[in-house]
Amino acid sequence: MEDHTHDHARQQLPSDPALRVLALESLLVEKGLVDPAALDALIDTYEHKIGPRNGARVVARAWVDPEYKRRLLTDGTAAIAELGYSGMESECLVVVENTPQHHNLVVCTLCSCYPWPILGLPPTWYKSSAYRARAVIDPRGVLSELGLEISQNVEIRTWDSTAAIRYLVLPERPAGTENLTEEQLAALVTRDAMVGTAKVSPPPETRQQAGEPR
């Protein structure tokens, strides 16, 4: 399968990627190979309909409903489908739980595998050479740079998405959130916490209270 035809074809198209894509789309539409309206629908889906708010709903549900959490940790694919999330890039989903003893971190060293239906498309840093190279050999260094210090007493489990399995980190529920609704909890959950490069922070008012002498 070694060939270099692709180099040649690439070089014939304009070097500016914007012009190259424009030329390619025009050709494929003219040949009847793609429907431009389908392209618009795909883009609209990932720009506006699918994103980390989906995953945040999953996390918040697991925090308030122990039975859902049990199902989520047993069969992540089925449990996220209960909330209406499924399909492309999460056909087989495994949820890994952060605890006082374990911190989970997700990476794809070989490309950019990521659970699209619950987190949307991955951010640039997740796809970067730096993250792909370092998350497996130096997870503590990477997390420290991102502002997260993990105690040596805590096991860091790095999940390299080398296969058909996609991962969602179930972060720890922050203290002081006992009275929040499921919706309020979901609003606290960030994308990075579900990849494992951050923890979920308590709401600002709780942090202020915690800082006050009692």
């Binding site: 997870p139 790095t158 296969a163």
Partner: protein, 219 residues
């Protein structure tokens, strides 16, 4: 293939730099390249493994130089030409060959939501038991396939423990070359960081990889 895409453990890549309030796409051409790549799967002429393999065949210096969606675009061009869906002449000129018939696109706007919701499941029935069991020590084989593989270099030769078994899945190494699905058991294998990286790694830390049965051997 031992390509530059197999980055786990490399040094010199610099810091991880998050972008605040990052948009889903940084330019409209990125969105179009993404959507074109997805839509063209609808023809069934290639699969996700073939797409990854096409991207991996980008020359190493170029792979590192160009942006993410430029790599997608490069992979798509390779597959269009290899599959015959578009000829070299068409890709060079930007125009259909004279007299060619206009096709009907398989993916129309109304099908986008159901296609995404269904995804492309890779699990397949298997009429034999898995070779390894949960808790068993296994070694990632020391192999260097010239084609597509999902066994990263950094794990080859290392010993881990089977943590879970996820049924049988399409084997990327054959599927990428359109040589059949050859489904086989998929294992989640736990390696200690020290087994992979040596004594400098944190004593407690672990790395989990999804590994197909052909990547593993008994210890």
């Amino acid at each position: 293939m031992n390509g530059v895409h197999d980055m786990g453990g490399m040094h010199g890549m610099g810091p991880v730099v998050p972008e605040q309030h990052e948009p889903v796409f940084h330019a409209s051409w990125e969105a179009r390249a993404f959507a074109l790549s997805l839509a063209m799967f609808g023809w069934g002429k290639w699969n996700i493994d073939a797409f990854r393999y096409a991207i991996e065949r980008t020359p190493p210096a170029e792979y590192l130089r160009v942006s993410y969606y430029e790599k997608w675009l490069a992979g798509l061009l390779v597959l269009l030409e290899e599959s015959g869906l578009a000829s070299r002449a068409e890709l060079e000129s930007g125009h259909p060959a004279p007299g060619s018939l206009k096709a009907d696109p398989p993916l129309t706007a109304d099908k986008v939501a159901p296609v995404l919701a269904n995804g492309v499941p890779t699990e397949r029935p298997l009429n034999r038991p898995a070779r390894f069991t949960i808790g068993q020590a296994v070694r990632a084989r020391k192999i260097n396939p010239a084609g597509h593989t999902r066994l990263p270099r950094y794990a080859r030769g290392s010993v881990g423990v089977v943590d879970s078994i996820h049924g049988a899945h399409v084997f990327p190494d054959s599927n990428a070359r359109l040589q059949g699905e050859q489904p086989q058991p998929l294992y989640s294998v736990r390696f200690s960081a020290r087994e992979l990286w040596g004594e400098a790694a944190a004593a407690r830390d672990t790395v989990y990889l999804g590994l197909w049965e052909d990547y593993l051997e008994p210890v």
